[in-house]
Symmetry: C2
């Protein structure tokens, strides 16, 4: 992505993806729409299941807008979930309260017959209706980010049937039967391209690919299951929508971040909290946009410790193409007033 169209120039969030440093930096926060907000909890309580909320354009748009109204973030991110893709493909997903997602796990290549891209139309359409509503109701200066989970990360849930700390089911499958696992990754890659393209056509102005479990892989597996499918998605999106920035978030893969950027050609990366500021600087100096990476637990703690680290991150990234963000999503225990304090601090004039 090289040039911005005129209407994009008014949006601060988009500038760093055109290699421009913005001062003060644009800010949005992962999971900025979520349980820490009382107005979110109210909508959530009325919505039925978590996926019902994701599939309700009216309610999903409403919760997406809530943090924009409160804090005036520079970007809104579509309220949805990375498991919409397997759910739409045919592996139904359930969210038990306080337990996280549950799926009937895929055990081998034979189980892939349960999945079909032709199943996805209705569910993808509902998400895109949310995007459409948002693009018509967001403030003029606020950018809209669409997203999907990266094929590797989504596959870890599909193989395990739930979240896991070590992604053992997917990693083992990939070792045991790389051709079969590759078939799953291919289905997810194709579905992701269709899903992201539809979001862009409905009004998303940037795309983020969440690879939350990229950090567990050896370098050869990372090249095959993280870099290669992400590169395919980037290439296909760029072919159709050359002006839309694509942001990668290979969480936990700091030591392979440069390899990831070179291999995928993303326009920018989100960095997790463990990514050293020096690594973020080095990447931003190559002209790629960098997002990150305040510890969400520091946003819970608040106070001077929060101010100090916020200042340190901003100082390190001054003059570079940078978007202020967290290293991971806001946690439910976060006091909303600490978020206000953070936004004020990031936007304060600096000497």
């Amino acid at each position: 992505m090289q040039d911005l169209k005129t209407d994009q120039l008014t949006k601060r969030f988009l500038q760093p993806f055109a290699r421009k440093a913005v001062s003060p930096p644009p800010i949005w926060l992962m999971r900025q729409a979520g349980r820490y907000l009382p107005e979110y909890r109210k909508v959530r309580a009325e919505a039925g299941s978590f996926l019902d909320l994701c599939y309700s354009p009216k309610l999903a748009a409403e919760v997406t807008l809530q943090p924009i109204r409160r804090y005036g973030f520079d970007a809104a991110i579509l309220f949805s979930d990375i498991l919409v893709v397997p759910d739409a493909l045919g592996q139904s997903v359930r969210f038990a309260e306080g337990e996280g997602p549950r799926l009937d796990p895929l055990k081998s290549v034979a189980d892939l017959s349960r999945l079909a891209l032709s199943n996805t139309h209705d569910k993808f359409a509902r998400v895109c209706e949310t995007v459409d509503r948002l693009s018509k109701s967001l403030p003029r200066e606020t950018a809209l980010i669409g997203f999907c989970g990266a094929p590797w990360t989504v596959a870890t849930y599909m193989a395990e049937g739930k979240g896991s700390s070590d992604q053992a089911a997917a990693r083992s499958w990939a070792y045991r039967d790389p051709a079969g696992f590759s078939a799953l990754i291919d289905i997810l890659t194709e579905a992701s391209v269709a899903y992201l393209s539809a979001q862009i056509e409905a009004g998303a102005e940037a795309i983020q690919i969440f690879d939350s479990w990229a950090g567990s892989l050896a370098d050869d597996q990372f090249a095959r299951w993280v870099i290669a499918p992400t590169a395919r998605i980037v290439k296909e999106i760029r072919k159709r929508h050359a002006d839309i920035p694509v942001i990668g978030f290979p969480r936990g893969a700091s030591a392979l971040l440069k390899t990831y950027i070179d291999g995928t050609d993303v326009d920018g990366v989100s960095c997790d909290t463990s990514c050293p500021l020096q690594v973020m600087q080095a990447i931003a100096r190559t002209g790629k946009a960098v997002q990150g990476n305040l510890d969400p637990l520091l946003l819970v703690a608040g106070g001077e410790a929060l101010d100090k680290r916020t200042d340190a991150i901003c100082a390190a990234m001054t003059g570079l193409p940078f978007v202020f963000n967290l290293g991971h999503g806001i946690v439910p225990e976060t006091p909303p007033e600490n978020v206000a304090r953070l936004v004020t601090r990031v936007r304060a004039p600096r000497s």
Copy 2:
């Protein structure tokens, strides 16, 4: 650690820590004594609780020796647990079958009064009796490794009361009350120096410091809670036992590995599976010994995929000070014959 004493020269494992490349590389595996071995499960079933096994010199020595008899590894590692230190200090640890460790969590600096170095004598002495037995019964060519958990990682269990995927209790405490958390780290640092010194005096010929949860920290927190206390331990151990190599294992901190080595002055590092081979090479080229980093799940899968990656790791580290190991501990599902296959492969003559 610069020079080896005459009796150390016969031990292949110790050579890389004196900056010497050994071909084929020495090999040992984290958790090489464990549930994947039927002879271990037999002893474990007779031992009472898991900590009873750790505190029984006879049984702990026996299970330490089992994988040496089977596979002739170049090093034995004391069978024990990183939570011996809090248990000995006075925060009693329980292992519920299939559930992992449980402790009454420390919530604030006031709870530190439950801990005292003067409590540790009897429990540390039992572990050291195991070391003493091992140093008298191991084959002449097998090195004996002692170990402890790093203060940060041990503190995460003490604050959380159990293992956790995000170490939220310790990270939050460190933000909320850095002085109080620092007092806990200081107690653990002092206890670790005493514990490791006692192991060395009983016959340990190298020391490994396991920092399993080092990967979750921002760089400033990593400097304070991982590097600083580890540097103190290394300095104190070297003052007393200049000829004993100290190996650090800051798991998940690949992007900060060089910073860790420079800051702690360890003689070598163990690398987890996600550490790129290029990073391992770069470190070994500076003369520091590197251990790692085969994926334990590949040892479960076995077959040609195992052979191929084993060859790739060995080829990458040829001519460098290197010890073959896993990136994490052996998992219980590992077929013992795959371990035999790995050892044969690592020791096969290479062109």
